[in-house]
Subunit: 417 residues, 2 copies
């Protein structure tokens, strides 16, 4: 059993692995020299068997060329075979030039793989303001094809290749069994706040050997993303390139249909992978020294709970207080108070959770006298967790963030380099 | 003529002064010893003649006792005579104790002034988590009464007394003439981000000798606040004590009624005072080294323009970039893109304004190659101004903010002291 915030995972088995954990998926990476030398900067995730696609994208008005392209494929609903990703220089353009370069990357990769261009999705991240040129991509896609295999190592290296200011590669995988058959879900992600120096932030690919129709998958993807990637905040700045893609190739032989046991298990597995990846992103936020976890219970609606939890993790004052290891509960109340949710302030409790111990720091809306030394000690741990009980209803949500540090200012106040 | 963002003030005369600039207003301040010794920490603004009240307050669910009390008086609509303010320890409580202390402060001040308790408004700011005690207030209100006068010096000292982490006292005043009579509007404000270490942020009092009905005044106050105090952002954290109060005692003999020249002039004067005070707050944001001004034009609605301008000034990435003096226009586009406003990204222009010079940095949604050295030089000025042209309609707005600096993290990451 794994617990993450309010979420309890008791029917899935966490396993080691990433995008090649599920049957029939291969990965590769290459140092194409897009911006820096000697650093892998392109990655490929591929399935010989056609995949159902589920995906969510940035809501930013300035959606980048790869997002516009992928959205179109999702809308068309055709099966896909691959996702090709690049780092170094982001294709963040919304103009003609960005669209052309993106089509070039998709088409060249498709040609190498022997599939159609609209069976290859694209993702792009890195510095903006530089032109992503076609030559390194042309060479890169060839090597990506040559190096494809289903090894653990290739998945790991693909997760490394998509990093930008990330300090660690981020993967998660799990499996479950139904009718004697094993279904696996595995993924990788990158993102560490808005990436130095700019815009492109979260790219994430999940693969699964479940067999699932697009409309069922898409519904589950949206729900999982809302409670995972959409619940983390490093700096409130959403990017133009944010992309989350799920590929399902059906090789497990298990069909996921609504109102079945398999559906519930798959839902849990997808949520586990999404939440685990999202938490890794929050913990690796730009300049972060510790992770902040905020659990809200007793809200009238799930949306209320999500807003309240996110308002606290996104508050600069709360984030700075976590950095300073000062359990100043007034700032938490303040951030709850301006979340745009209507509730009775005079019944709110806030509890500081630490391993199996806890400390009531706000009772019925009033800041309590607490053991400051103990609280400071708890605040210095890698994960700082606050439980906010609204007592207005039965809905809850968990949000994750990180502290606001001098390094965040260093990273983002620096000149482009 | 004075220009501030999109606002042009051509019919009013900026003058030196604050809350005693208008006829019939007196002020005083005192070192009551609420928390620190030898620092003035209470202030009083008083008019012997009864005043019409206009006011706006924090939208935070956890509104503090003084806000709850003042709101009630505004609702009742009775004339008022005074505002008493304290710093040092904030009465940020929502519970019984906070309400009692607040009533004590209002009632004692009223007794000294020989008016009714509900003719005295209260404001409170400072450290939270400590109990505001009644003894210093009891002594303080006596001295406030004794020291009352209408001198320039007393207004200045009152503006000093309400400072917390502010580094400069903030006042503004102006006058206009109508039918040979002079009307004066003057005010003071405090606020520098959420105040060290906590919550209480903006308190502001404006006085005027205009004669005006409450419903007319209240309408103008709301409009002015929306385009001034509500357009500044230091850290997106709104407080539990935010209060803006206007007192109008009618001593100029000029009646302000809708659809008259006097109304237009008064509106301009009130906007001038509000915007000038708001800009002073933005420039004095916690840890700030320079002010950021963002002008949006060509939006479909005024609300759209306000959202877009605020989204840019509130972005941590834009704020860190201003600190780093890096004119990275991708971050501006990004913040426009997630403002929650629908617009065509492919026609947006962004221009960097500097004195009488300008530099187009985004044309039709595409980041331009610019003279980086010149841009860096411009970025190092005390005020950095970007004009964002949406080309979707005829509405505009201006927002003000400041850079995100190491000092902000120092101030807010520190232990309570």
């Amino acid at each position: 059993m794994v617990e993450q915030g309010l979420e309890v995972f008791e029917n899935i088995e966490p396993i080691d692995g990433g995008v090649t954990a599920a049957k029939g998926f291969q990965a590769s990476s290459v140092a194409a020299g897009i911006k820096y030398k000697g650093r892998e900067d392109m990655a490929l995730v591929y399935s010989e068997y056609p995949c159902t696609l589920g995906a969510t994208f940035t809501q930013n008005v300035f959606a980048a060329a790869p997002v516009l392209y992928d959205r179109e494929i999702l809308k068309n609903g055709n099966p896909i075979h691959a996702v090709v990703l690049n780092t170094g220089i982001a294709n963040a353009g919304t103009g003609l030039r960005g669209k052309e370069t993106n089509l070039f990357m998709a088409a060249e990769m498709a040609r190498e793989l022997g599939v159609k261009p609209d069976e290859v999705l694209t993702c792009s991240t890195g510095v903006i303001g530089f032109q992503l040129s076609e030559e390194p991509i042309y060479e890169g896609v060839k090597k990506l094809k040559e190096r494809l295999n289903d090894s653990r190592e290739n998945a790991f290296k693909a997760a490394m290749a998509i990093m930008t200011t990330d300090t660690v590669q981020k993967e998660a995988a799990c499996s479950f069994t139904v009718d004697g058959k094993t279904v696996t879900v595995g993924g990788m992600t990158k993102g560490s706040g808005m990436i130095h120096p700019d815009m492109a932030t979260m790219l994430s690919v999940t693969t699964t050997d479940a067999q699932i129709d697009q409309y069922v998958l898409q519904e589950l993807v949206k729900e999982s993303v809302d409670d995972s990637f959409n619940m983390i905040s490093v700096d409130r700045d959403t990017s133009t390139n944010d992309t989350y893609i799920v590929m399902a190739n059906g090789r497990s032989g298990v069909k996921i249909e609504r109102d079945t046991k398999a559906y519930e298990l798959f839902r849990e597995a997808l949520r586990y992978v999404c939440i685990t990846l999202a938490k890794k992103m929050a913990a690796d936020g730009e300049g972060a020294t510790r992770m902040l976890e905020v659990i809200v219970t007793g809200a009238k609606t799930h949306e209320d709970a999500r807003k309240l939890a996110r308002s606290v993790t996104a508050s600069n004052l709360v984030k700075a207080m976590v950095y300073g290891a000062d359990a100043n509960s007034g700032r938490i109340l303040d951030a709850l108070g301006y979340a745009g949710v209507d509730f009775d302030p005079d019944v709110v409790d806030v509890t500081f959770l630490h391993e199996d111990d806890m400390m009531l720091i706000v009772q019925d809306g009033v800041v309590m006298k607490i053991d400051e030394d103990k609280a400071t000690e708890w605040m210095k741990q890698p994960v700082v967790t606050f439980l906010c009980e609204l007592k207005q209803g039965r809905e809850g949500a968990t949000a994750w963030g990180c502290d606001l540090t001098h390094d965040y200012v260093n990273i983002n106040g620096d000149y482009r380099s």
